[in-house]
Assembly symmetry: C2
Homo-oligomer: 80 residues x 2
């Protein structure tokens, strides 16, 4: 019994993304054209011994307690 959870942690809309902005600038300095925006996102792939709803609940708790900052980030969980 096991599950692989993909946790995507991204900035909420309206929150400045300095890493994304600087990556965009760096790409443009390298000569890339036609880039409208770059968003930087954090991703965790967690292998769990639990499954289904239990695994999703554990991942939600992990996001709330450690992985995400609820003031500026939102998270989504997807079981593979």
């Amino acid at each position: 019994m096991m599950a692989v959870a993909e946790i995507k942690i991204e900035l909420k809309k309206g929150v400045t993304d300095p890493e994304g902005q600087n990556t965009k600038k760096a790409l443009e300095l390298l000569g890339f054209k036609g880039i409208r925006s770059v968003r930087s996102i954090k991703f965790f792939e967690i292998e769990l011994e639990s499954e289904g709803d239990e695994a999703v609940l554990a991942c939600k708790e992990m996001c709330r307690k450690l992985l995400a900052n609820p003031v500026i980030q939102r998270y989504s969980i997807h079981l593979k």
Copy 2:
């Protein structure tokens, strides 16, 4: 005409993932049980004025020139 490219940059198999390992330890210290592994992955969402093959090619170039370190990382590109 535009495309949104999702670029996933992860460590190659066999490369140590200190961020993932420390995240796993921190989660265990918080009381989470049954975690087999944690992998940390970087993700970029890039809005481009190009589309299709042209957009994918541009993203490959971006990974090669800036976003990924080919010695320890591999990347995958997915157009939304």
